[in-house]
């Protein structure tokens, strides 16, 4: 997966030559990787057939139910900044994995991988967060 700075890439896998293989691998990945995040949550509001990657700077982190929320500024190649909201698992689930209200800090540059809401809204449900120093967290419901 290619990540262009400041760009939201929804359908890069579809640009690959072998679309069927990409879709198959993508679906398998989603089931293994992203499924748990949406396990207690309806999927119908999200484009679950494509993976979205969002890179931006955190402006706020809300430790709220039913999903912790990251607000971030995403600057495109054209220099324009979009306001994004990214939701992940619930605080109870995150707390069991060692997260707390300070895990994500204002000013952090983060890359999020997940599913964008249908219809083109600037909102995603993410299941992977990466910091520039290489730290990666993959929030998931653990049963």
């Amino acid at each position: 997966m290619v990540l262009l700075k400041g760009r939201v890439e929804i359908s890069e896998v579809l640009q690959m030559k072998n679309k069927r293989l990409a879709l198959l691998l993508g679906t398998m990945g989603l089931l293994l990787f992203c499924g748990p995040v949406l396990a207690h949550h309806g999927r119908s509001n999200y484009d679950v057939t494509n993976t979205a990657t969002v890179k931006g700077v955190v402006t706020q982190f809300d430790w709220v139910n039913p999903h912790a929320l990251i607000y971030l500024d995403v600057t495109g190649d054209d220099g324009k900044t979009e306001k994004w909201i990214a939701e992940t698992n619930s605080p109870n689930t995150l707390a069991r994995q060692g997260w707390n209200k300070t895990t994500v800090k204002v000013g952090d540059e983060v890359t999020l991988v997940g599913h964008r809401v249908k219809g083109g809204g600037t909102y995603i449900n993410f299941s992977k967060i990466t910091w520039p120093d290489g730290r990666v967290l993959t929030p998931a419901v653990q049963n």
Partner: protein, 261 residues
């Protein structure tokens, strides 16, 4: 004359045999009662999380046999959009808990992904749910279920021990709730019988029977499995905080609207 002399002897003999048998039976019954009293109550305590393969429901292989109104409701609730897994959560916009913030209620709570904790105290088994911090009180003091209960989200439950199994009966449930996460409807006549058993040290199995003559043409059965988490404590999950913070609509809902969906 002959009969008159035989009669008292026969009666005395019969009385002796009968009383001996009665005494033996009484002793046997008392012994069984003592043995039962002496048998330790099975330990179901601990934090448990749902690992049922068909998580959102109780029985994915065979659904309920519905009455017509319930069938129509089920068809509306079921999320069978293309790309959705075969067994998944019901439609978000119709989900009483997700869309409208009603308490999840029983028995749906037992199909949720968040854990619960079982506590056993005198005369009661308590189930504390992480989701919405709800509590189920299962009375084990021998009381009867109410004849005509006022409906509540958690219902009224009584339980009794049958060997290693806690047999629970629950009635008095509001029909606002879904029976499970998948969106099966039910009526206020629902009578749930659940047999709770620790099949291994770290696995809890519950066999379910849902008897609801208003909604089903015959009782529906199912089974759920839970994993023991000795190192977990319950956290807090409140379903609708985001809506309360953002004017009655979640930010996700707003994003979907703004996106034109």
């Amino acid at each position: 004359m002959k009969n008159r002399s035989i009669h008292p002897i026969f009666c005395a003999l019969a009385l002796f045999v009968f009383s001996t048998a009665l005494a033996a039976q009484t002793a046997e019954a008392q012994g069984a009662k003592k043995a039962q009293a002496a048998a330790p109550t099975p330990d179901l305590t601990g934090v448990w999380a749902n690992i049922t393969e068909v998580g959102p429901t109780f029985n994915a292989k065979e659904g309920p046999s519905f009455q017509p109104w319930a069938e129509a409701k089920w068809k509306a609730n079921k999320n069978d959009d293309p790309g959705q897994p075969a067994i998944t959560n019901g439609r978000v916009n119709l989900d009483p808990t997700v869309a409208s913030c009603f308490p999840t209620g029983m028995p749906r709570l037992m199909t949720e992904v968040f854990p619960f904790e079982i506590l056993q105290v005198r005369d009661r088994v308590l189930i504390l749910f992480e989701k919405d911090y709800l509590v189920s009180h299962i009375w084990t003091d021998g009381r009867k279920l109410p004849e005509d209960p006022d409906p509540t989200y958690m219902g009224q439950s009584v339980g009794k021990w049958e060997g290693d199994t806690l047999v629970v009966d629950t009635v008095g449930l509001k029909d606002i709730t879904w029976l499970d996460r998948q969106g099966h409807p039910h009526s206020d006549a629902l009578h749930v019988t659940w047999r709770v058993r620790r099949i291994t040290h770290d696995r809890l199995q519950i066999d379910w029977t849902f008897d609801d003559p208003k909604a089903f043409t015959k009782p529906w059965t199912g089974r759920t499995i839970y994993r023991h988490h000795p190192d977990w404590t319950l956290e807090e999950f409140i379903a609708c905080e985001d809506r309360l913070l953002h004017g009655g609509e979640s930010l996700e809902q707003k994003a979907v609207k703004e996106g034109g969906q």
